[in-house]
Every structure is written in structure tokens, then in C-alpha cells.
């Protein structure tokens, strides 16, 4: 194995590998920063370029696009509050308030540092533990996945800033929205009233942009006298200091572990990792009330977690040849065209090449930091745009971003609908996070529950208790964990909505 590793380093030390990886990273960051262009789309479009490059150049190029894209989504989330992807929803909570306080540069730096560190540590962990990770990933079948989904939804609902009953209402609303369209198992239409455009259901992107960007625009129009960023000589503020980064080390470490573990479970992904890490950081913090007001930990937590997911998601692809999500499916295509068939055979036959690709993931983290550091001053200039231009520009980006995603005019109606819903929720102190979480997780929960019932052949209880010990453990752990999350954050919620103290600002 040592031989293979040494040989792999030799393979990677080429200028063109580093150049193409850098190009991939820059393209990824730029595309990830544009709302509506997802990392998956960027990779699908750039895939053919890799067909004509050698494997140690083409695949690192795509890995660069992948990592750059996941980071790039945090840029509009911080600067204008548009989450370009689901993975950066939690980044808007503290990212945008930081921008408004005139600290956008710090926030962008923190997002970059947390992303690079989370990604690096998780990638190294993946290289070292690839065997055990592959074994654990195999244990997660449909019943386990269903249990994890349920746990995630409950934790988010019970650790939110609004009252638990309100959070549960939003959770149910999110579940309802998720059920519109075809049911995932039997492909029957639900709640469509025979209306074809909603057959495929509501898309995530119009919902996210609507819920997060539109209320922000409406609110800033309301407060028209206030400038978007408080006046100062340098509205983008100072760079992040080492001291500030050091203060967040516990948050980054926690998020990295959480993100890494979530990355191992097939079918969960970046969105859940980021939201769970944010909730965990808030619960563990001595000052949970400051989350959502613009603190650096609130940016570090989701960003470290969503990038930490990247490394472990490669494991099922490399060890089984089975892609865990769309992004790794595209990588699979790139491998196969190069004549490499990921799977149990590949490690035996092409160990140096596989290690070279794994190491390129680690090198990509370093390059991501360097390139991001160079690009941030450019991005942070966005806040210098006058509000009179920035607000209309945000609207344009919100609508264009929603439309380009799949060229469906109907998505724009949903954008407007969710924009108004998000605005109403803000005014009435409803936290929309549980709704988004439920919307994303309900199809997965429903699917895996349906699969579990079919697998159990009608004896679900018996099946889980006897044949699925891991699922049973997760189900039994759900009530105490939910209680813990509720208990640690209970002071955040206003016990008496009529006469109680001033309600806390709802997270954005």
C-alpha cells in the first residue's frame, strides 16, 4: 500500500493537474455563486472536457468544480441572502446580518476557512478510513435512513427560534408541500387536481430563493431610509483574524465531524449537514441567543459541515462503484469514460491512481483556500453597490436564477408564492427552517419508509426489532436527543407571546 501511495504522489505532481484543478475550482466558485446554477449542472456541462484529458488531470478538474461549487454557494448567501443551493441555507442566518453590520469580508473569509478546513479534515479522514467507512455505509438501508430522517426533522423543529408549536406547524406545512405531485413509490398524483404543471411537484430552488431572498428584499424596501450596510469608509469591513478563527475552532471541529458522519450515510447530503450543524452549534454554545444576529460561529458551523460531507460521499463510488448522489454519478461517468470502472476491482488493479485521486481531493482543499482568498476581495465589493441598485439586482437574480434551473415558467409563480409566504412568516415570527427541512426530507422519509414496509413484507415492527438493530437504536435515541435539543434552547423562545419580553428577531 505504501508503494501505491508513493507512486500516486508521483502521478499527481504535474503542472497541468494543478492548473486544471485550479481552473475547475474557479469555475466552480463562480457557477456556485450564481443563483440557479447548481454544482450538479456545472459538472454535467463541464464533464465532456474531462473526456479528452488524462485521468489524473480530468478527474481532479471535476473534483475542483465540485468543491468550488459547494463553497461558491455561500457567497450570495452571505452578501445578499440568496441561498444559491440548499447547502447554504443555514449560512444566510448569520452571513447576511454580518454583511449588514459591515463585516461581509470577515463572513466570507470565515466561510472559506471553515469550508477548506472541514473539507480537508474530512478528506484526510476519508483516505485513512476508507475501508471502515464503506462498511458502515453498507449498514444504512431504507429503515435506518427513515429513522435518521425523522430524527433530523424533530431536532430542527425543537431547536428553532420560534415556539415549538409554531415550528411543528411549519414542519407539517413543509411535509404537505413535499407531497404535492407524484408520490415517490407508486407514482400516483397527489394534490395536483389534474393540473399537469405541478405533476412533478414543487421544486426546491424556487422555494429557497422565495423564502429567503424575497422577504429580505421586501423588508429592505420597507426600511427605505436605512442603507443596506451601515455607512462606513469600507463597507466590506476587515479581513478575518487568526484570533477570530481560533475562537471558532470548537464549532468547526464539531461541524466537521457531524458533516463527515452525515456524508457517510447515503442519501442525506449537504443540506441536512449544514442545518444540523447550525442547530448543534447553537445548542452547544454558551450564548445561543446570539445566533442569527450575525456572529462568525453561525457562518463557520454550516460551512464546515457542508464541505465535510464531500469526502465521505466519494466512498460508495470508489469502493462499490455506486454513486450516492447526482454529483458522484457524474464523476462515475468521468471515471468510466477514462476506462476506469470504480468498484471493488479498481482498488486491486489501479491502487496508485485511486490514491492519486484521493490525494487530489486533499490538494484541492488547499487550492480552494488560496483561490478563494484571492477572489474574496472581488466578491466583497458587491456591498459597495448602492441599495437603489442592489435591491432590484437581487430581484433580477432571484427570478433569473429560478428560471434557468429548469426553464419552467411555473417555478416563477412558486417563487412569488414562497416569497410572500416567507414575508408573512417573518412578520409573524414563524421560523421557516423546519418547513425547508421537512420539504427536503419528507420525500426521502416517505420513500425509505415505503421501501421498509415492502422489505418487511408487512411485518414492519418485527422486521425493525429483529433484523434492523441500527434502525432500532436510532429510533430509541430520538426522544432523548430531541428533548436535549429542546432543553438547551428553551430560553430562546418567548414563553408568553402577549406580555412576554420583546420577541427575539427571527432568523433569516
Amino acid at each position: 500500500m505504501l508503494d501505491a501511495i508513493l507512486h500516486s504522489i508521483e502521478l499527481l505532481m504535474r503542472l497541468d493537474t494543478l492548473m486544471m484543478m485550479s481552473l475547475g475550482l474557479v469555475l466552480g466558485i463562480l457557477i456556485g455563486a450564481l443563483p440557479g446554477f447548481t454544482t450538479t449542472m456545472a459538472m454535467a456541462v463541464l464533464l465532456p472536457i474531462s473526456f479528452f484529458l488524462s485521468p489524473v488531470v480530468g478527474i481532479p478538474f471535476l473534483i475542483g468544480v465540485y468543491k468550488g461549487g459547494i463553497y461558491g454557494g455561500s457567497i450570495p448567501a452571505i452578501l445578499v441572502g440568496i441561498p444559491g443551493t440548499g447547502a447554504s441555507v443555514a449560512t444566510t442566518y448569520d452571513g447576511l446580518p454580518l454583511t449588514k453590520k459591515g463585516q461581509s469580508r470577515k463572513a466570507l473569509d470565515m466561510a472559506l476557512a471553515a469550508s477548506a478546513i472541514g473539507d480537508l479534515v474530512a478528506s484526510v479522514g476519508t483516505v485513512v478510513l476508507i475501508g471502515p467507512i464503506a462498511l458502515v455505509a453498507m449498514k444504512f438501508g431504507p429503515p435506518e435512513l427513515a429513522a435518521v430522517m425523522l430524527l433530523s426533522m424533530l431536532i430542527i423543529a425543537f431547536s428553532g427560534t420560534s415556539m415549538v408549536i409554531k415550528s411543528l406547524m411549519m414542519l407539517l406545512l413543509g411535509m404537505f408541500f413535499a407531497m404535492i405531485g407524484q408520490d415517490p413509490i407508486g407514482a400516483l398524483s397527489r394534490f395536483t387536481f389534474g393540473f399537469f404543471p405541478i405533476e412533478s411537484g414543487i421544486n426546491l430552488l424556487p422555494m429557497l430563493i422565495g423564502l429567503f431572498a424575497i422577504p429580505e428584499v421586501l423588508l429592505s424596501i420597507e426600511e427605505k431610509t436605512k442603507p443596506f450596510v451601515e455607512k462606513s469608509v469600507r463597507p466590506e469591513g476587515d479581513r478575518l483574524t487568526l484570533h477570530e478563527l481560533n475562537d471558532c475552532r470548537r464549532t468547526i471541529a464539531r461541524s466537521t465531524v457531524l458533516g463527515g458522519v452525515i456524508g457517510i450515510i447515503p442519501g442525506v447530503g449537504q443540506v441536512v449537514a449544514a442545518l444540523m450543524a447550525y442547530a448543534a452549534a447553537k445548542t452547544a454554545s454558551p450564548h445561543p441567543e446570539k445566533f442569527g444576529t450575525g456572529i462568525l460561529e453561525g457562518v463557520a458551523a454550516p460551512e464546515a459541515a457542508n464541505n465535510a460531507v464531500n469526502g465521505p460521499t466519494m466512498v460508495p463510488l470508489l469502493t462499490l462503484g455506486i454513486p450516492g448522489d447526482n454529483i458522484t454519478a457524474i464523476l462515475l461517468g468521468a471515471f468510466v469514460v477514462q476506462g476506469l470502472r470504480p468498484g471493488p476491482q479498481l482498488f486491486a488493479q489501479q491502487a496508485p491512481l485511486i490514491y492519486a485521486i484521493l490525494f487530489s481531493m486533499i490538494i484541492a482543499c488547499g487550492l480552494l483556500y488560496v483561490l478563494g482568498y484571492l477572489l474574496i476581495p472581488l466578491f466583497s465589493k458587491v456591498v459597495m453597490i448602492r441599495k437603489a441598485y442592489l435591491v432590484p439586482l437581487t430581484i433580477v437574480f432571484a427570478f433569473v436564477g429560478t428560471y434557468v434551473y429548469r426553464s419552467n415558467v411555473f417555478d416563477l409563480y412558486f417563487l412569488i408564492f414562497f416569497g410572500l409566504l416567507g414575508y408573512a412568516a417573518r412578520k409573524l415570527s414563524f421560523d421557516v427552517t423546519p418547513m425547508v427541512m421537512a420539504f427536503i426530507l419528507t420525500p426521502v422519509l416517505e420513500y425509505s419508509l415505503g421501501q421498509s414496509i415492502l422489505l418487511s413484507q408487512g411485518h414492519l415492527f418485527h422486521y425493525v426489532v429483529i433484523e434492523r438493530p441500527l434502525a432500532l437504536v436510532i429510533i430509541l435515541a430520538t426522544p432523548p436527543l430531541t428533548y436535549l435539543m429542546w432543553y438547551r434552547t428553551r430560553k430562546l423562545r418567548n414563553p408568553d407571546p402577549v406580555n412576554g419580553p420583546e420577541p427575539l428577531p427571527v432568523k433569516q
Partner: protein, 321 residues
């Protein structure tokens, strides 16, 4: 410019075309602007990969880039409906497969009629599915598996890629022909179904050659549901005694155009795709993807398509009664 770098340039130009959109040139000859090819499926699937190979070669023969537009949703119905509604001017094509094309009409109500709204440009190739079990499975042959299913109806679990999807239809066609009942467990795609097989959640699945080869000795192939053998020692469904399964079970990758396309434009497209199928780079890339390059002309496929129409009507009727 070398051959390889020219290819990169074409690919990059196609990529730029997606990002920027291209201005239409007011010219008489067709094609005068990039052609959009709708895929009613998601990114990263086998159709997407096939399309990426096609679009990196097609510009050489059509003179304009072909831009892939992914429109997934509602089991392929969203993208198909969009293609059916688009102007029949030859600038919008649909790259789909037979299960979406001819089978969906019997499963649900469609806002289009596949037989009236589309004409066939070409069948680019086909994908032969095979029945696989784990290598430690007690089922050594197809007969073992089907006998066990006959003995215990509903006990054996068949993991597939989703209802009416690429690996469900072939499996269901075989079960229907053999007259056995099993528990069908849907997964979100062929990859997760293979994972379900490997982890022991299900007893068998149906998969395509590239997936099977990459699993090495972890899986055993029992039968290939096609007319020609893919693996030397594995019989075809016809050889195993089910002669009518292959024509329904094989996935045909087809390019359609909205009906009403001017005849000269259709002819140009058909000629372009035919030339593409002989391109060396195209054949090489497909081979690496473990895909065959068994091209079939639009006319020829139309005959086959009409036959499929009838078989699917019967299959769905048998499965949903």
C-alpha cells in the same frame, strides 16, 4: 489545432452555449443556430452520459453545437411534454428511451400523445439489462430463482430502479412471462438498487453491463434480457425459454423530434445522426462507457416502436390488474 484540443474546444463551446445562450442567425439553411436536446431525466444518469458523448461529436456532422437541456420530473413526463409543445422547427429534440416513450401512456394520463406528437430521428443504441444476484446467493440459475418464487409466491424481493423505470420494466416483463409473483422494492435509481442487493436487503436486481462488470465477483449474472449475449457464459432470455421478453425489456435510447418538422430538416438530422454513429471518437467513448453503438435508422425504429406500443399495453394491464 490537434484533434484532441479541437474536441475540447467544441466541448467548451457547447458549455459556453449553455451558459450564455446563443443568438439566432437569420439564415435559410438549417441548422443555423445551436440545437437543444431535451433529456427528460436527471444529471449523471446513463442517458446524460450518452448525451455528453453525442454532443461532443455531433457538431462535426450538423455544423452547430447541440446543447443538452435536462428536464427531469414526473417519470420523464415533464421533459417529454415540453418537447411535444415546442416548435417543430428542428431546433428542439428529445433524447429519451422506450419505457418513457411508449409505456407511460398506459400508466397515467398524458398531456401529449407519443405516437402523434413525435417522429423518430434515430435509435442511437440499446442497453441490454441482466438479472443479477449476489455471488453467495443460493440461486445459481434463472430456473432456481423462478422455481423458488413459484414455491413461495411474494417471498423473493426484487429491488429495481423505481416504478416503470429502466430496470423495473425488464424485471417485471420477465416475471410476467414466467407467471411468478414477487415483492417489488423500488429504489431511487439503479445504483441504490445494486447497493440494496449487495447489502442483502433484496434478493436480486436488474442491471446494465457497466454496473455488473464493475462489481467483479461480488455478483452473479443469471440471464441477459436481450437478443444477443453480452457475457459469454450467460444465456439470453430467449435461450432460457422466454422468447418474448427481450423486445420489451431492452432499453432503446432514441432521439425524437416534434411531429410536423419539415421533411428536409428531418432528413438532415437523420443523416447527421447516422454519420455520428460511425465516428471513431464516438465509438471509442461509448465503448469505454460499456455502451454498444448499435445504431438504427428512424424508419426502422418506427416499425419496432409500433410493436412496443402493443406489448406495453399488455404488460401494464397484466401488472396493474
Amino acid at each position: 489545432m490537434s484533434h484532441v484540443s479541437r474536441r475540447i474546444f467544441v466541448a467548451a463551446a457547447a458549455a459556453a452555449g449553455v451558459a450564455l445562450g446563443s443568438a439566432a442567425a437569420p439564415a435559410e439553411d438549417y441548422p443555423a443556430k445551436p440545437i437543444t436536446m431535451i433529456i427528460p431525466l436527471g444529471a449523471g444518469g446513463s442517458h446524460d452520459l450518452n448525451a455528453r458523448v453525442m454532443t461532443s461529436v455531433l457538431p462535426t456532422y450538423l455544423g452547430e453545437p447541440v446543447v443538452v437541456q435536462l428536464m427531469p420530473g414526473a417519470s420523464g413526463r415533464i421533459g417529454t411534454a415540453a418537447a411535444a409543445k415546442s416548435k417543430p422547427d428542428g431546433y428542439t429534440l428529445l433524447f429519451t428511451h422506450n419505457f418513457i416513450d411508449e409505456l407511460q401512456q398506459y400508466v397515467t394520463k398524458l398531456p401529449y400523445d407519443p405516437n402523434k406528437d413525435f417522429v423518430v430521428v434515430a435509435r442511437t443504441n440499446y442497453a441490454p439489462p441482466s438479472v443479477v444476484v449476489r455471488s453467495d446467493s443460493p440461486y445459481k440459475t434463472l430456473k432456481d430463482l423462478l422455481d423458488a418464487a413459484k414455491k413461495n409466491p411474494g417471498k423473493i424481493k426484487f429491488g429495481h430502479s423505481g416504478n416503470w423505470g429502466a430496470t423495473m420494466v425488464p424485471g417485471a416483463a420477465l416475471l410476467q412471462a414466467a407467471g411468478v409473483k414477487m415483492t417489488l422494492v423500488p429504489y431511487k435509481g439503479g445504483g441504490p438498487a445494486m447497493r440494496g442487493l449487495l447489502s442483502g436487503d433484496v434478493d436480486f436486481t436488474v442491471a446494465f453491463p457497466s454496473v455488473i462488470t464493475s462489481q467483479g465477483d461480488k455478483v452473479r449474472t443469471l440471464v441477459t434480457l436481450a437478443d444477443k449475449r453480452v457475457f459469454k457464459d450467460v444465456p439470453t432470455s430467449g435461450e432460457a425459454g422466454y422468447p418474448n421478453v427481450a423486445s420489451i425489456a431492452t432499453m432503446q435510447r432514441i432521439v425524437l423530434a416534434p411531429a410536423g418538422i419539415p421533411a428536409d430538416r428531418l432528413a438532415k438530422l437523420r443523416a447527421g445522426f447516422a454519420k455520428m454513429s460511425k465516428d471513431k471518437t464516438y465509438m471509442k467513448l461509448l465503448k469505454k462507457l460499456d455502451e454498444n453503438d448499435e445504431f438504427m435508422s428512424g424508419d426502422q425504429y418506427q416499425t419496432m416502436r409500433e410493436k412496443q406500443d402493443k406489448s406495453y399495453a399488455a404488460l401494464v394491464k397484466a401488472l396493474t390488474k
